[in-house]
Symmetry: C2
Subunit: 255 residues, 2 copies
């Protein structure tokens, strides 16, 4: 079902979400994902710790003309670094998990991405490694989950197929004349993930300092829960500044 190879025309259609492949294993799948991105009009590709390094010639071979997407791909060492400049992060997650975050369908997620973009905010979507999927720490970086409505009797979804469905729904959602949502933040900017991480690091550092996280076995889960708590919904810069102040003052004790 190949038409003309339109790779030369590939440009970013803004605002366009970032596709973040987390620890992808096969370069072929990265190439196939880039091709699917081209089909759906997506352009921004980020790779977190690709297993076999980058660049890989096999990705270009499978990309079928999506060279510009592959050439513009950015590499990061961690999910946190890859989402640092984003305002809203979605995690694709096939299995039910005991994580309290909003769960959207692909269609609902695409509509949300379009709405986020219409407000001038940058969105990104995390896709996990081929075998294991995203782990709990990856998912902790996300605001919402996207769970595809597909046959529960056959969950083995190829990485590029997962990207394709998102791109397809995003392309359709863009076409809808959805009115721009009213700004919910009343003048103050939504915090980026880096600003949020900076705050969480501050919070956890102080928790450690006061011995709140001293149980080594429970510590990872508690840290993750703190991440979840603040990732749920948008936090503004002003709110973060307030929270920073509270922590600092709590630690310093009464003046």
């Amino acid at each position: 079902m190949t038409g003309r190879n339109g790779g030369a025309d590939l440009v970013a259609i803004e605002p366009s979400p970032v596709v973040i492949l987390v620890r992808p294993q096969l370069a072929e799948n990265i190439g196939a994902a880039a091709r699917a991105m081209g089909n759906g009009g997506l352009f921004h590709l980020r790779l977190v710790a690709p297993r076999d390094g980058w660049p890989q010639e096999r990705a270009w071979r499978m990309g079928s003309g999506a060279h510009r997407i592959l050439e513009a791909a950015q590499i990061f060492e961690s999910v946190a670094a890859a989402v640092a400049d984003l305002h809203r992060v979605f995690a694709t997650c096939p299995r039910p998990r005991h994580i309290i975050k909003p769960v959207l369908t692909a269609r609902g997620g695409a509509a949300e991405i379009v709405a986020v973009g219409a407000r001038g905010l940058r969105a990104g979507v995390l896709f996990g490694p081929e075998r294991a999927g995203l782990d709990n720490d990856d998912i902790a970086q996300a605001d919402s989950l996207i769970r595809y409505d597909l046959n529960p009797g056959f969950m083995s979804l190829n990485l590029a197929q997962a990207v394709m469905i998102l791109g397809y729904e995003w392309w359709l959602a863009r076409g809808d004349e959805s009115p721009m949502r009213e700004m919910e933040t009343h003048g103050t900017r939504v915090a980026t993930k880096a600003e949020l991480d900076n705050f969480l690091a501050h919070l956890i550092r102080e928790c450690d300092a006061v011995g709140f996280l001293k149980n080594e076995q429970k510590r990872p889960g508690m840290v993750r829960n703190l991440h979840h708590l603040f990732q749920r919904g948008e936090v503004t810069r002003q709110e973060l500044n307030t929270l920073h102040g509270i922590i600092t003052d709590l630690r310093r004790g009464p003046k």
Copy 2:
């Protein structure tokens, strides 16, 4: 993004449309298409003249657990044979063509497939070879076209991705509580493609016999146009019987 491998659970969810891969080139793509079918809950796979023969071990390797779909695949020598027992055929077709048939989106096509199935009729969807896509003779076998709403700047859509989008939309369309459509045919059965082909063969044989199609250069186009004419919308068996009678009687001349 792989979950548990649910291949053992794969069963046909009826009524479920037939996926027909026309002259597929790469066994890997057949396997990937079968996997996508599993994701979307589709089960019935037909192959028309696969280039490298069948079965091919590479298909099973790419099928990622969709073995049952591959094992149940049926092989045909022609599109006509592959659609013979179907009542409604859709052709996926990425490029605009000068063919007068209804054109649906993937979403619209999926809704139509569900509606057709709810009436007890069998539907099938044609997917063309990787490079060239469906040719005009293939498309002539279809009632309607399905054209995906995707980035026109990058039309190179992988075969398995095309199957994935259809399966995804079909799975969603099934979930909608769409009321069963009223039977439009008032008691008489919709003709299968074999019954329609039998009629068209009769019609063309008689046209040839009377010299109507004697222009050898124009003949293929005219035959195709006759096919298009009768494929447009459903023809009932009773109507076909009437048409058969008309042709027979026209040929015999006045009693």
